[in-house]
Amino acid sequence: MGDLFHNLALGFAVAGTLNNLTYCFIGAMLGTLVGVLPGIGPLATLAMLLPITFQLPPEGALIMLAGIFYGAQYGGSTTSILINVPGESSSVVTALDGHAMAKQGRAGSALAIAAIGSFFAGCVATVAIAVAGPPLASVAQKFGAAEYFSLMVFGLVGAVVLASGSVIKAVAMIILGLLLGLIGLDVTSGQSRFTFGIPELADGIGFVTVSLGLFGIAEIVTNLERASKHGRDLIQPVHSLMPTRQDLRQAWPAILRGTGVGTLLGILPGGGAVLASFSAYTLEKKIAKDPSRFGKGAIEGVAGPESANNAAAQASFIPMLTLGIPSNAVMALMVGAMMIQGITPGPQVMTKQPALFWGIVASMWIGNLMLVIINLPLVGMWIRLLKVPYNMLFPAIIIFCSIGIYSLNNSVTDVLFTAGFGVMGYLFVKLGFEAAPLLLGFVLGPLMEENLRRAMTISRGDPMTFIDRPISLGLLIASLALLALVIAPAVRRTRQEAFQEEET
């Protein structure tokens, strides 16, 4: 217990410096700013704003990125409540009841409850990270190459469960991501692989290039495609931000339940904001006395999922920070950002760079507090932002993405590759492939190959090493069980129901 307070004190000392507070504030502000824009999710927001953090010191960069992440997530909720255009899949369920509330003139109440719920969930999840982090990291420090390989298999299988479409296609995307990750010089032999003789490819394809192309550029194309078919919804006015006493009384238990669901699901590989908010919504609907209120402006339908997605968003930092394994695409991007800063994510971060680790944890709490301040009093500003036409936005996004990519290495080639990945991302949308598993595979590819080779060398070429070692065996069994669960018809059906909730 004493350790916990000592650690948190260290964290707050780091996060509380004027510089880091500023980075945190700018991050949360920018994240909200971009996240509020209709049709731009947290992943695209992060990918787009990543280049701004390159010049910062590692702590500052990661604190700012974390701020951008929550900001974008919360901004997406505002958009879905006010104009029923969820910018990302995790606020799809918020739109159901949140927008219904807005139409009844209760938009302010919905926004306030979403903010309060998110803040509460953020506080709980911060404590969860502080408590669960050290023991997990100390377990991970005993891991050898075989355990790491199995852990990554487990993480990737989790990503398959997360994917909403076909399981086989999600696995294919992971494999494709692993292959893309191998592009460049092979570390062990020094031979170049898949480089087509292009010198810029010797170091591999940049993470930012892939993520901006697949998520940023491809998203604009699909948004424009959709915009040409559908018109825009009206923006609902916000009258008073004070939730009524009845709203608060009904929302509190939902906030508690949502926080619990979110924290648990966030830690699991493949879990994350999307799964958490859907599960929380389903839970609220199941235990409600009158389920028919849902979809017509039930406050629990906002409070539960909003708390859950924020708790999960934060809890998903746990496996990333302690094991170095990203559990979803957003965390894959954070891993990419850490590597750009010269930090290899893994259990050693906590022991070798405690200031960095605990600084990020403490900044999460501060960031959540800032979000409440940014969002509630400034809601008028965000509403004005919602009125900016997309025709003005997307050229600006193209410019910022291009400048960001170029400035990473001052390389025109990177910009060209981004264009290529944009086309690829659109092709994926058309063929029904999800790009998120690909990104996970891409980040883990080189690590996985390295650990596989090392494990094989250590065991003198005996693949049984993965089964002989208990932790490795446990992780592989867990992966198989997870895969079996998804493929089992009963679960497949409920999984489809959960993801189809958005159509209703």
Binding site: I168, R193, I220, I403, V423, L431, M456
Partner: protein
Amino acid sequence: MPRIRDPRELAAGLFLILVAALALILSDHLPIGRLVNMGPGYVPRALAWILGGLGVIVALSAFTADAPADVPPLTEWAWRPLLALTASILVFAFLLERAGLVICIVVTVGVAGLAAAGIRPIQSLLLGGGLALMSALLFVVGLGLPLRLWPEFAG
């Protein structure tokens, strides 16, 4: 000849098989090594075979199950935004070091504007000018990125 019930799955499967074949051809010259001492070709080739296998499964599923009702037909492509946006990024890459940031942004925004119907040239020009000014202030003056603002001959 069985009937194709889900063309999108067939296309998706063929795409995977194509990529797998490409990966196999490109890693052909890399030594495989043995399990105990894997060469640089071991993992790429293993992944390529798995990918190809998955591609076959996906392609075959096109004959066994119908397409879900909400899947749009494969023939609908948003060519206009796709081509205009891709072209705009290529233009950005071509002009940035040659013409400097300001001209580059104005032209890029102009090309990107072709992606959506209803953007008039004057709007594009104003937006491009505004973004050029903003980027110059933010990236060059503010963040100090080493970007040239104007073409070389203009100083």
